[in-house]
């Protein structure tokens, strides 16, 4: 078997293992390990790699934002803050069909504005919103799907880790990419809210409702939210005004919510330990998947499957738009089994030079930014497309009562909304570029 064939056959093998209930991170890790052994003709290379790979994955400064935000979420819950937040959101939206889910999307968008990672957004917001959604009678599948989709806003709304990587790979301006991502990010949030209203119309049993509250009561609920708002503003303001990096913002946020929870009396002995346990379980689960994905993608790069697959696409002699659509479809398919950062790292160096010589009627810089935003979105769709979607796993595993098949079927509505949005952005580049054009 050639290296290329080994790489190619690893896809179905990985899928079979995952469907046989092998833990995702372990499956990617094992396939990557064995594949590397086959490609390099022995275990030596894989074992050598493993000497430092676990440490370097787990000691990533940018990923340290994950446990900090998770802990922040638990502290917020302990301090009664998430309940207050949802009481406020619910008091304004709860009487609408699907209102609390819409509020959750809004909260995800707000959180996305301070966090550069989808997993962190999905995990933290689930911590806060999932119990509330379930309490309001939302079906497990719908609630988890809403939060999985909402989680992608973490990376669609700047700052975004993926955009930073893209900017470095393609030598583009990070600030401009962030600016361009803003409108598509807001569109994503609006699209999800629209999806929710359609979903509850089609599946009325999947969401509870109640009569509207008097206005005075709504504002009373709003006042209870001030500690959350304070922490939130400190974190958002701090990051945007340059007092700290996103990871530092996460630390400040965790510190702030911890302090409030302490003052409120929610953080004593057992509760403190419980918040550690919960943070521990989600954190280790996420990092083990990151480790597995890193190992698997290192192996895949060595087989050159992603590189040769992309080169093949280019050498078919199609027109500009056809190539673009093939690339996007390829990302969607790869997104079914690969993690987004690895996909970007492997394919952008090959796709970008090709795209940049095709004629879409844009200046080179506009083209680079537009392409970056579109693949950012497509890659993020991969986080919620079954069968392998990082956000789906993370959130589904937080709700033990809901089988993932229910999450799968509900999330397809959000995937559909994503595909409509991608189509709009592809057909009308001006949606992505108009902020840039205004400020120039």
């Amino acid at each position: 078997m050639s290296d290329f064939e080994i790489g190619l056959y690893s896809f179905p093998l990985l899928l079979v293992l995952i469907f046989l209930r092998m833990p995702i991170g372990l499956a990617m890790f094992a396939v990557g390990f064995l594949g590397l052994d086959m490609v390099t003709g022995g275990m030596l290379v894989a074992l050598s790699k493993l000497k430092s790979e676990t440490y370097s994955t787990f000691s990533s400064y940018s990923l340290s934002i994950v446990p900090m935000f998770l802990l922040m979420g638990h502290f917020a819950t302990l301090g009664g803050m998430s309940q207050a937040l949802f009481k406020a959101a619910e008091s304004f939206l709860g009487h609408r069909k699907g209102g609390v889910a819409m509020a959750a999307i809004g909260a995800c968008a707000g959180f996305g504005a301070i966090c550069g990672s989808s997993l962190a957004t999905a995990a933290t917001m689930s911590q806060v919103a999932l119990p509330e959604l379930r309490r309001y009678g939302y079906s497990g599948g719908f609630a988890t799907a809403t939060l999985a989709a909402g989680g992608t806003l973490g990376i669609l709304i700047p700052p975004s880790v993926i955009l930073v990587i893209y900017a470095i790979l393609t030598e583009q301006n990070i600030a401009k990419l962030f600016m361009a991502a803003f409108v598509p990010g807001i569109l994503a949030a609006l699209g999800y809210i629209l999806t929710i209203s359609i979903y509850v119309r089609l599946h009325p049993e999947s969401a509870g409702t109640r009569p509207p509250m008097p206005l005075a009561e709504r504002f009373r609920a709003l006042i209870d939210v001030w500690p959350v708002m304070l922490v939130f503003l400190a974190v958002v303001g701090g990051i945007y005004l340059g007092f700290f990096t996103p990871t530092e913002g996460a630390a400040v946020g965790a510190f702030g919510t911890g302090l409030i929870a302490w003052v409120n009396g929610g953080l004593r002995g057992k509760a403190w330990a419980q918040s550690f346990y919960a943070t521990a379980k989600s954190t280790a689960m996420i990092f083990f998947i990151v480790l597995g994905a890193g190992f698997y993608n290192g192996f895949l790069a060595q087989t050159r499957v992603p590189q040769e697959l992309s080169e093949w696409v280019v050498h078919q002699g199609f027109g500009a738009w056809t190539v673009l659509i093939i690339i996007l479809v390829l990302y969607l398919v790869m997104g079914c089994i690969m993690d987004s950062l690895s996909m970007i790292l492997l394919t952008v160096p090959i796709f970008f030079p090709i795209i940049s010589v095709l004629d879409f009627g844009l200046t080179p810089e506009e083209l680079a930014i537009w392409f970056g935003i579109i693949i950012l979105i497509v890659v993020e769709v991969g986080l919620i497309t079954p069968p392998v979607g990082m956000n789906l796993f993370v959130i589904n595993s937080m709700d033990r009562e809901t089988p993932i098949s229910q999450t799968y079927s509900a999330v397809m509505y959000f995937v559909a909304s994503d595909i409509v949005r991608v189509a709009l952005l592809v057909i009308f580049p001006g949606i992505t570029l108009f902020m840039l054009r205004i400020f120039h």
Binding site: F58, P67, F393
Partner: protein
Amino acid sequence: MTLARIMAILGGLVLTALILLTVVSVIGRTFNGILHWEWLETLAPGGTKALLDAGIGPVLGDFELVEAGIAFTIFAFLPLTQITGSHATVDVFTSALPVTANRVLIAFWEVIFAIAMVVIAWRLYDGMLGKMRYNETTFLLQFPVWWAYAASFGAAAVAAIVTIYTALARMVELASARAILPDTGEAGH
């Protein structure tokens, strides 16, 4: 179970320490900036100087400490994740299978996991020896990198032990058809 909980609390305490360290560093850096404001320096030149000399500023090497600490934290978080069966899985197909088949699969993957964790801990130990041999240090604080590796290795070793225990427990569960460990979510849930 107790061991896994102790490790999770240990990891949580380190995480809390990193959060405090980062907050102190941010505050220090902000005040350092404020103390360099020109009008403040002209207003109270001695005062700002004294405070700056007292070391008001960011914590030196805060990035490095976060990196070293977070690695330990993740390794320390693994045992609890393992023993509670909290790793992400896809049960869409297996939920159609009988309960026994699922138990067999769970026990089998747990055994593979135990092998993987032992290999991970062993390789990390080797990695630590390499860092010792090459005298690698961090960039700013220049503490030996192998210290960080040693801390992580300690936690990884515990994770390996707990994973072996978990695998054995799952096999006993399979043989005796009774639950020892918390439920991972049985078929058909």
